[in-house]
Symmetry: D3
């Protein structure tokens, strides 16, 4: 339908900014990372029938263990928040390079491990919280936390799948909603709300408009979308329908529709 209306459609999660990064994905990931830890705290507490433990560290009590799987922005902000509350944090990733980069971004030492299945399975047996924060935009191979690994966890522990929008990284994950955000599987609390940032909708809106407002102003200044797209290569990356022609090859393959390259198309038109 979008195609038939000859609409120009831009998917804002594909817009690229300076140094080729994805500004909207990054902003939402910062929020998702922080929010996931406060959600985990809620479901560990007695508030919703959790196992009644504190996410954080107090004197003389063995600290809560938080395992974070992933090395992108969401993982970074989840790690910051968990450390900030006093938890013991372990980051699991599949690239020593990204683990080192993440270490450089933190203000505190963090413990990192490669996601070899054996290590991952062992890390999960002691974790009270597991945050799945695999950043598909880093083009990692999918890390899948298997059913067996989940079964090996301590009862009442909490897993939060921040990759659920992209299919999820726990084999036990299912999409849930803000109205009914969790379910239990193998005794483990699973949280699978997509677009978790909408839980703090006002903050998310400000972060979004921080990025979109200047683009809209620029489109006005440039004299329209077409002129803007000619000059702004990053914005062009976000286009998936241009003048009624599909330009996103991923969607094309998914739905069996023909797609064209936006750069060639603009040169031609």
């Amino acid at each position: 339908m979008l195609l038939s209306k000859r609409i120009n459609a831009i998917g804002f999660e594909y817009i690229r900014g300076e140094e080729n990064h994805l500004p909207i994905v990054s902003a939402m990931s910062e929020i998702a990372g922080l929010v996931s830890i406060t959600i985990a705290a809620e479901y560990l507490s007695n508030a919703h029938g959790g196992k009644g433990i504190l996410l954080g560290g107090v004197s003389g009590v063995s600290p809560t263990e938080v395992a974070i799987v992933g090395t992108g922005t969401a993982a970074e902000f989840a790690a910051r928040a968990a450390l900030g509350l006093g938890a013991r944090v372990r980051i699991l990733g599949n690239s020593p390079y990204k683990l080192r980069r993440l270490q450089h971004h933190m203000r505190q030492p963090i413990f990192t491990s490669l996601t070899q299945p054996k290590v991952l399975a062992k890390a999960l047996t002691t974790a009270d919280v597991v945050i799945g924060a695999i950043d598909m935009n880093e083009r990692d191979e999918p890390i899948v936390i298997t059913d067996d690994m989940i079964r090996g966890m301590k009862p009442g522990s909490v897993v939060i799948d921040l990759s659920i929008d992209q299919g999820g990284c726990f084999s036990t994950s299912r999409i849930t909603t803000h109205a009914s955000p969790v379910f239990r599987e193998h005794g483990i609390v699973h949280y699978g709300v997509t677009n978790i940032a909408s839980r703090v909708s006002r903050t998310a809106s400000i972060a979004l408009s921080n990025i979109l407002a200047p683009i809209l102003i620029d489109i006005g200044n440039a004299g329209g979308v077409r002129e803007m797209l000619r000059n702004d290569i990053g914005l062009r990356r976000g286009v998936y329908i241009y003048q009624g022609i599909l330009t996103n090859s991923f969607i094309g393959r998914r739905f069996g529709l023909p797609s064209q390259n936006i750069d060639l198309l603009m040169a031609a038109l």
Copy 2:
């Protein structure tokens, strides 16, 4: 009734440990301070109809402001947690000495102000969260946050009264329960559950038994409560009924009962 049964009753919140501090009050305050921030995060989010903001800091969005009134252990741990999530924190206290001591206990600079009514009122107008954490054991004069100060706050902000067990420090505070933990007054969300540490009951139990277990073992080793009380002055401070005689003057005055000094009593018996 307790008196007629000639019971020896010890109130564990009065037991004193090394350097005259109150070990159980401190342990519960650490927990209460940390938990209060994750509760505030929950009620600022959309989860329960809050104003939809993130407790924490993300790039390019003005950070959440957390005002903490008090300078004791609960205030310290609330400040740590709020800073850990990336919020902007201001501590308000009525003693420069205690504010400086608190500053020394933190791993990050914090901003402190004296609780002069004008400063307090102004601080509240920009705060998204106010934690009332006045530590009565420090024998401060009560700081009361007035009805007018609450009215001056931004709608949807959250106040948590950690002093509610001792009467509360907000004039708008009321005792609430885990089943129905909040109410709104002047558009501000109020959380007034007493014994907030019970929200993470398992952690609280471990922290308590860390302190009580050694005392019970010592009582066994000493050959009974009486022998133990002879040697352990700190434990003796916790006694409020000894051999059927009331020894806590505060309770005595409250209920119009005669009370005796435990030290004199033990010397006599």
Copy 3:
């Protein structure tokens, strides 16, 4: 005149080093950022008739607020110094990506906001110090702090324009000298000395010679400037007159002179 003498002229602020960065601009920006904060401290104090406040934080007194506009090296070092003295710092920039990168470079959390006019105006009303540190080398669009924003500031506050060499970022800015470094406009103290790093001339000289000395040695080793320029692409970027021919297009346009591309010219000669 330089042209007629067939001189080879190199502007050292254009020399590029590893990963295309500008080593001399960076070194001078580090110094400018640090120095700007000690200058602000001086003009806030009573020493020159200032409003008599301390740039920094002491127990129980609301801290000085420092707003820094910009996200480059000078902004980073100004932020470090202000935080180091105990001030409350807010960074305003027009790119979430650069704000996040700056955050990663700091050892302490900083608060960042996007420079939307409304946010900027509001941030200025509470600031005691504003450092304008827009890094033109990052090719940001100019952020202009308007006359009205300056009028909205608290009287006696201090603004320091580190971008004054490139035209300034406050609409009220004027170039001043070390002999008479400040003027007042709308009750606000303005500091507009160009080349602020010369205030600490010995340190600036060492930093400069750290970069230039190796180049001079290399020129000697290479057998002259021409040979050196053939091999060192970064140094070549700094050339603006080569064998009497203008090679800097910016100067060409400014003075209406023809200019040639240095790379083509060297290939030809």
Copy 4:
């Protein structure tokens, strides 16, 4: 004259607060410590004909060395500020216990040495700035920096004597004024303004009134100064004339006047 008027005189620098500390001395020391570093930065720069070096650290340039003699509050805040600007800091004190306590109060490692004359002399030869911050209230023996040590320093270096009100800790120190704050001796810039906190008079006033306002209110509530003095032992320590009778033995000895003990006097009257 004060005596003949039967005035009750209280010296506020002698008032004692919680845990016997001196609240006003502490508040003024925090300010003095911070301010001393920004003054040192000013006199190291070219602004007043200094040697033109930056107080702080930039990449690739050997950092400024700041030696701080003393272990009290002023020393602590001077150290924080100098570290915050990026300088290399060494603390010299005469008590390992106080050096360790100071270390615990900092958020960064600092280097400490005992003030044995040889160590002190050597530390001064490499220092660009020396802050004399001996806290007489800690009843240390006077550490005197001798004429010879000053002669051994690098020309153009800056010494600031924060102990000048109590006689000074450099043998070359002289009292100076805000109008003419420095002099040179042996090529070293000396700063000897007493009551250095008055350089930031507004901040100092707020800090003072933070402490004095509650006392004045308490005097009103108590029904007068005499009643207040009966109950507040800390305030009583500040009294030096009571009902026309000198009660400060230090002033008595200095001026050859008889003095009486305030506690005995109040019991008698």
Copy 5:
């Protein structure tokens, strides 16, 4: 023999300084704590046939676990060093109050647990290094790490008993020498050199003379040891033979000799 010579003997480990602390014990404990970690690193490496692991943290490898039993100065400095190398550290102590104080002294979060036998046994199963740093001067009850706990450790792990001078805190501990510093028991490397600080004899000597030199000078100034002892209560605590009379009751009981109270003795003589 000492007694018959009518010598005045002072045991410097008993001398007390400001606020009743033991300056020499503290200084030696700082050194012992730091040194113990570098020794552990040595014995974990292949250098002496160890299990070939790095004491510290590198990207992607699960970090070394260091368990420290104790809460005094040696424990603090061992924890600092282990964290500094990047290890994962857990502190085990028997007082929540001391664990919290230790936490305040660190610049990084540490994880603490109470030394209940079950927790202790479990902590040891995952530890690569155990530092026994129980500070007898804090008058803790002895914590004994049993034979069974040692048996439960991973082969090749290293235990260092810093309490060996006072009898040791591992049931498997034996005194060793710098010439032959370790032995293996249950597959665990044991290090039991007494006076571990002598491994860095020059640093230890400087630290000692920092404390003793001023005392010797004071004795000279005071006109002899007897006069000095009259005025310096802390030094008097260190005396164990005064004018040929034993004044240390601990030694008296140990060797069945009569002893007298030094204070009474000095008053009498």
Copy 6:
């Protein structure tokens, strides 16, 4: 011989990963940096006849000085470890850009200087430890620490040459072995074991297999080495013999053998 067997040989130190970095070199450098500091601690102590000083900082004793020459990963990890033990660290490098980048990677301020011969010579006169950690992969020009500089050092100081595998950066360096790791030259202890990471062989093996295991699995999945090399450009960089043909030009030049470009070769075959 390798050539005649038509082996495909891959030198794993040449394999390139994300963003063109060398994963194995980085991993070994992290280990080497950390290990070098614990080795230095050992040789400064009395354990092997060293000068008996502590690598680290204790209250009141001038701290150990550690000079690190280089700005890569090994330098970074050596700096972390030395700071972590409490030493005073100075980094010397020949690029202000890399020194600034290193500063951003640390969690603590470090002092940096450019390696001008005069500065280098002076830095060495006060150093107790010098770590030579020049990262040849950064293609720095060799910095050579001359015989005279070593002669100017304090007797008993320790130098560790982490660049010994690539020829060394001290003119006095010689290759040594784990069996006899040190020799003395001009009174300075020299450590020159190549492949220092093998001192902690188990940790090094895990770090290596973290990188190699996924490659082996990928080779299996890809259907063989040739197929894998077609797709993985980074792995291809590591090939030095392909189908019996030398493809590493560096080895070719060294041994006078003809070599071919791997990319062309694969396109042809």
